[in-house]
């Protein structure tokens, strides 16, 4: 290649892109991660952990298929247990990716350009993990297509008045739209990889995927329209998905579930845990691949602020939940909250308060937000807290509902844990494959952040 440019070592910066980059160096730095023949040790370590846990997942699923859902701890009255907890947790994590790629695009937040690609990938893989749980929880997962309305010899159809059927449509639409949005975003970068690679196989593969993209001005003009339209479609979609997930609970009359503030509360919680996952992925990635000039401290700071803001909304929801239970004067609502705070799930409840409300208040301090290592720990705390939140909402409400004679305590089995950690493995496995095979930062969008991308108008006359 003529006039090969060297990747500059970028200084730490408070900007969204370090100074000194050119179109060539951003392209090379991001593309090299994919096109190099040398795979860093970090990748093998992460992929190894993911792959080992994926095997745990496959093992758990094999046992589940052989023996049935009885291997999990789900017993009457807690029939939802870990499966639905994990489903809600994973799908929530996915929401931050769409928020970054769609909502921040519409709001013209240009700092999103360097984190949107891997955040969208995170969305896709999180939705894939989420989708596992309702399917496995079906009992007979091979009959999953019964969830969809199709002409069948049994002469029956799904009940469209049920939130569980709404969920099928919401989640499958979300997965499809996220995949398409992600692919459209990848198209110009696939063309870059096609043009940069020296390997024939890679050129063929990326060439097929890039579909002959050549960066024509005609294409870009349609492309920009398409991105805006897709962002405009994904924005109400992402808000609707967790709303529909919350309907799974609010439409039921179980005390602790049946309340109108669940949709906004769930959406805020989803973005909260999603940004925690964005930080948990971005911090190790940028130091392992030396991307501090593209994913700067400013990005981490902004993500931490979004996390803090949504965390405060979640805190408000917890307060409101308790207040509503007391103010309703409904004995079942009151005792549901009281059991949460003092009953067999008290430890989980107070841990979630600590993880989701108390500890995140430290994010007000700039000292904490500016230290990536600390932010990483904080994001793991929030992820744990949000998992506990879903666990407490689902399990404690079901375990102690109306009649004390039907009460019971949920005990997770090792297969519950195996499936849960297994999906973390599936997530890491897919994610590490992604960062090895596709550019984890959107190259063409980062190019637009450079000062030299601006057309100087005075030169024209």
């Amino acid at each position: 290649m003529p006039d090969e440019q060297q990747v500059v070592e970028p200084p730490p910066s408070r900007d969204i892109i370090a100074p000194g980059y050119t179109f060539g160096t951003v392209t090379d730095q991001i593309a090299t991660v994919v096109l190099t023949k040398r795979t860093p040790l970090f990748w093998f370590a992460g992929f190894g952990v993911g792959f080992s846990l994926l095997l745990v997942f496959l093992w758990s699923v094999a046992v589940l298929f052989a023996k049935g859902v009885g291997i999990w701890g789900i017993r009457t009255p807690v029939m939802w247990g870990f499966a639905i907890t994990n489903f809600v947790w994973w799908i929530g994590i996915g929401h931050a990716g769409t928020l970054i790629s769609a909502i921040l695009l519409l709001l013209n937040q240009r700092w999103r350009n360097s984190i949107n690609r891997f955040a969208e990938a995170m969305t896709l893989f999180a939705v894939a993990c989420a989708g596992m749980f309702p399917l496995l929880h079906l009992g007979r997962p091979w009959l999953f297509y019964w969830l969809f309305p199709y002409p069948n010899t049994m002469g029956v159809q799904p009940n469209f008045r049920s939130p569980l059927v709404w969920d099928v449509f919401a989640v499958s639409t979300y997965a499809t739209v996220s995949l398409m949005f992600w692919f459209v975003g990848l198209l110009p970068d696939l063309a870059t990889l096609r043009d940069r690679t020296h390997s024939r196989i890679a050129r063929f593969g990326y060439g097929i995927l890039a579909m002959g993209w050549r960066g024509s001005a005609r294409h870009w003009s349609v492309y920009e329209t398409a991105s805006l339209l897709l962002a405009g479609l994904a924005t109400p979609l992402v808000l609707s998905v967790h709303t529909v997930v919350s309907f799974d609970f609010t439409i039921a009359i179980v005390p602790g579930w049946h309340s109108t503030f669940f949709p906004p509360y769930f959406v805020a919680g989803a973005i909260y845990s999603g940004f925690a996952m964005v930080l948990a992925l971005a911090i190790p990635l940028r130091s392992a691949y030396g991307l501090q000039g593209l994913i700067t401290d400013k990005h981490l700071d902004n993500s931490a602020k979004v996390m803090l803001a949504t965390g405060l909304i979640v805190a408000y929801a917890y307060i409101l939940e308790t207040f509503t239970a007391w103010y309703s004067g409904n004995v079942y609502e009151e005792s549901a909250i009281w059991h949460r705070m003092t009953g067999p799930y008290a430890f989980a409840y107070w841990s979630l308060i600590a993880c989701n409300i108390v500890l995140p208040q430290f994010l007000w301090l700039k000292r904490i937000r500016s230290k990536p290592a600390l932010l990483f720990v904080w994001s793991l705390v929030v992820l744990t807290g949000m998992w506990l939140e879903r666990y407490v909402i689902i399990v404690s409400s079901l375990a102690q509902d109306f009649v004390p004679s039907s009460w019971s305590v949920f005990q997770a089995t090792r297969w519950d844990w195996g499936t849960y950690f297994g999906t973390i493995g599936l997530f890491l496995f897919l994610f590490f494959l992604f960062i090895r095979l596709l550019p984890m930062i959107s190259i063409f969008e980062v190019r637009t952040l450079l000062p030299q991308a601006k057309v100087e108008e005075e030169a024209q006359s």
């Binding site: 469209f160 870059t192 002959g212 005609r218 479609l233 109400p236 609707s240 063409f444 057309v455 100087e456």
Partner: protein
């Protein structure tokens, strides 16, 4: 008549030079122009008069079809195909249909946005003459290209090359078919 070449292409260093060149070529009367850039440039869209496209209409149509089919599917299933009394609700219980109608609207609109994008761009297109220019690989990295196609009525190999040279490009090359 089949032209012997596809056109001539000039390579520029930066977006400003390219936009100025595109404007100059439009002023000179060239209409069969295309520019190739590593990222979208709004001024270029203006310079080449490319602002209108039919994508929003395609997406709107897709969304309307999706919404209607979502609603009608539920209506057909719950009222005609499989009427069943659930908690005494009317068979046509429209408030319950809203969510799936909404999801189907978004799904169809998004699918038509992606297919519309590919259709309007003419993708997938495995072969295009501009790829014959060896330095064109840089169009996806850090170079900006302006191509005047041979089908342009004003196209004349010598004159067009001469015109492009006046725009101070890095290089002017011929695009073979």
């Amino acid at each position: 008549m089949i032209k012997p070449i596809y056109g001539v292409i000039a390579e520029f260093d930066g977006p400003t030079a390219l936009v100025n060149a595109a404007r100059a070529a439009r002023e000179k009367g060239y209409r069969k122009l295309d520019a190739y850039t590593p990222f979208p440039i709004e001024e270029l869209t203006d310079a080449l008069h490319l602002h209108k496209n039919r994508l929003p209409l395609i997406v709107l149509t897709g969304g309307i079809i999706g919404g209607l089919s979502g609603y009608l599917l539920q209506y057909y299933v719950t009222v005609i195909n499989f009427p069943i009394n659930i908690a005494g609700r009317p068979l046509h219980s429209w408030p319950a249909y809203i969510i799936i109608t909404f999801e189907m609207t978004i799904l169809f609109a998004a699918i038509s946005a992606v297919l519309g994008l590919l259709g309007l761009c003419g993708l997938p297109m495995p072969y295009h003459p501009v790829f014959n220019v060896p330095r064109f690989a840089l169009a996806s990295r850090n170079r900006f290209f302006l191509c005047i196609e041979a089908t342009d009525p004003l196209f004349d190999y010598e004159k067009t090359c001469g015109f492009l040279e006046t725009l101070e490009p890095r290089e002017v090359s011929e695009v073979a078919h």
